[in-house]
Point group: C2
Chain length 503, copies 2
Amino acid sequence: MSIDETVKSYSAYVKKIMDFNEAIALAEWDMRTGAPKKGIPQRSEVVGTLSDEVFKRSTSDEMKDYLDALTEPSIQDKLSLVTKRMVEKSKKTYDHYVNIPAEENKAYVILQSEAQSVWQEAKAKSDFSLLSPYLEKMVAFKRKFIGYWGVKSKKYDALLDLYEPGLTVEMIDRIFGRLREAIVPLVESVTSSKDQPENDFLHVHFPADKQRAFCLHLLRENGYDFEAGRLDETEHPFEITLNPGDVRVTTNFQENDFISTVLGTVHEGGHALYEQHISRDLVGTPLCEGTSMGIHESQSLFFENFIGRSKAYWGLHYGELKRYASGQFDNVSLEEFYRAINVSHPSLIRTLADELTYPLHIMLRYDIEKALFDGDLEVKDLPGVWNEKMKEYLGIVPETDREGVLQDIHWPGGDFGYFPSYALGYVYAAQFKHAMLRDIPDFDVRVSGGSLAAITAWLSEHIHKFGSLKKPLEIVNDATGEEPNPEYLIRYLTEKYSDIYRL
Amino acid sequence: MSIDETVKSYSAYVKKIMDFNEAIALAEWDMRTGAPKKGIPQRSEVVGTLSDEVFKRSTSDEMKDYLDALTEPSIQDKLSLVTKRMVEKSKKTYDHYVNIPAEENKAYVILQSEAQSVWQEAKAKSDFSLLSPYLEKMVAFKRKFIGYWGVKSKKYDALLDLYEPGLTVEMIDRIFGRLREAIVPLVESVTSSKDQPENDFLHVHFPADKQRAFCLHLLRENGYDFEAGRLDETEHPFEITLNPGDVRVTTNFQENDFISTVLGTVHEGGHALYEQHISRDLVGTPLCEGTSMGIHESQSLFFENFIGRSKAYWGLHYGELKRYASGQFDNVSLEEFYRAINVSHPSLIRTLADELTYPLHIMLRYDIEKALFDGDLEVKDLPGVWNEKMKEYLGIVPETDREGVLQDIHWPGGDFGYFPSYALGYVYAAQFKHAMLRDIPDFDVRVSGGSLAAITAWLSEHIHKFGSLKKPLEIVNDATGEEPNPEYLIRYLTEKYSDIYRL
């Protein structure tokens, strides 16, 4: 076969894998949005069959032959960049799975499913001891896998690489260290400020159908393309990509907390814009998705925080909001509303945290994960360490493990190394905003004027369109001219919260 | 391999095919109920990839080996009935495709898609000459395929066998001959009756959300299990089965013709009950679906006509209907309402025909199909023959081909042999009703009392639970003690319409 023929045949082979993945994504969307419950057990088998197929094809001898042929050094200058990156990504998946003995991988998958189910019970009973043996096995598996992958330096680096390729403990220590230095004292000042904003009016009953209409309006205004997407209701909001022409979002209408619904919807809409803008040339390749969890989160947080929690945005939309609401904002000024939606105080649950305290929740999880894999922390000591760290970072301690170490599904799901992406995404978002201001100095004027086109075009041009063609650090460097730098986020939070809390 | 091992391995092989089919069905449901339009081209490729996979596996050497091993005469008495029937069905699919040369099948599939697209244009322009060359090729392909399948007797029998296995031209000639003798004069009497019912009040505006609520109510009352299904809105109503725990229906809310919506919904609900009640033991086998188009239609028509258009049913639901409506029935008696929803007159469009004239629309299509394959009718003569037959059967002639020969998608889609199922289903339904009365003599009392449980249990026990384990004629014979017999339908229509039109 000529090189061209090999590339063509490899591309067709990979396209089929992507088609199976799309069928799996559709089944998942369907199961989460309203599939009849009696059909779920059989539907899960369908997902199992399709996932098996993806696994087999991703690790097949045929795949190995393609990868061997296409990583041959002598032909590298004859391959397009897209092909090279496709091969790199296929090879990463191949190596990831092929190095783990099949029976161990199977045992791990079973453990994952058991641990998540035990976690629900442990959380309900607030009893860490139920989950502890499962987590121990989970950590042991992960350590073994890291061994199979032949990692030389820090073990935790191998886990970070699964979610944020290129980022290392060394870089994150530096970034999170600075965030901690700046945010911990800022939170203390905010908490002790005498000038706490009112926000009772945010919790007046706001009917779901009105929230829905308002959310549809905002998504449209933010550039979400409803010909390439749809909004449904689920218990937990999420974004899911079938293909770039079909990027769906969901939200949960909380009738006594509409602002959480609105900002949650805008957040998922940010994820969706990323996926809707990926270059159509990448459809059918493994590059047709956001490049990392962190870059993805940078896009959702950009919309949620830097747009959705800004005074400029509500300067535009507050009048419209009043038309959907039932009079609760009639005597509330824009300034009061803006302060209310940015109320900040230390709290126990990460997913409910405000934008100022949120990074601290991530940092404590990062410290713990790092110590589990490269330090001497043992699983049995997690609850104690959790509570100490809460005290250190946020000044409060949960009364139960349900509100503490048991709150997240990530660890029972085996997702160690995932958490840092949330805070990294936040750092990137602030840095993108800073870089964008060079090209769009009248950012606020555009936001308050309702013309986000130049802003989304900037994001598309520097981030979205590449899909996974660029690695996260390439995206950050090319878009901003520097490595990930926490100073922009620190400056944003310091200025914003000094203003809101009159520090 | 032992026989048991072969059966186990064959069953697992087939289960995967069924899983792929479920993924295809989900993709189709999604595309028809609200998938964003920009995602459709890529979604179609996903369906293509999955369908390819089903085709390859259904016609593979591995399948051939299983079929050879499991049709070995010496082991037949060691196989369960389910296995035998599974093998029979797999073999039918295998033989169907394997005998057609791959390139011809591909050309046929492309022609199908082209012809359906040309049909839309031809219908819009009411110009049969556009479609004619495509239909000619379609008929030529079908004739060739019939040759490959090695059919000895009537060619059209081979087409009937695709939709209603076991039924032949000989049987249908007999059945349709009797229907024609009885229905044509009955329609003439009804049309010339001096006592035509009023039905203007059926066309008063009925808001979609009220119709939706009422349809949900009726589906629930009819026994449709919403934990194993859901109702969505689409342009054309349909039922689609993902698995017996997930059987979905759709409807179209026609605000100026609510009774069409209601009866259409009840009709799809009848299809759905069939699929919801298939024995769970058959999940994952090719037997886990209705056994034929005709038996399927018998279940939808049983609910639409023998229940949904009965006086007993509205004796129960008319009061409730008034609560959902806007006053248009306040001065309409139950008797007047019952007569109105059963108004009958000859009309041009099959899908809009009433229950009395409907079979005539089918019979004319049957005559034409039969003449195309076993007579000397040519495609170019279809419009003329269509109009002659309309005159003969219904006494009216369409002014345009759009309302005549071009109205249905079946022929451009290659579905010759499908139409008779609609009328056969109707014959079966009347025959089932007659047999059911032996076990449930107080049928009307139960319907008007809102307790359909015994009725649906009877249908489940004699029809639904078997899926495709029994062939259509076995179902009819076992449930009613005789071959398909048109006299019950004739008696039903004669008695009912003599009453309504005071003949």
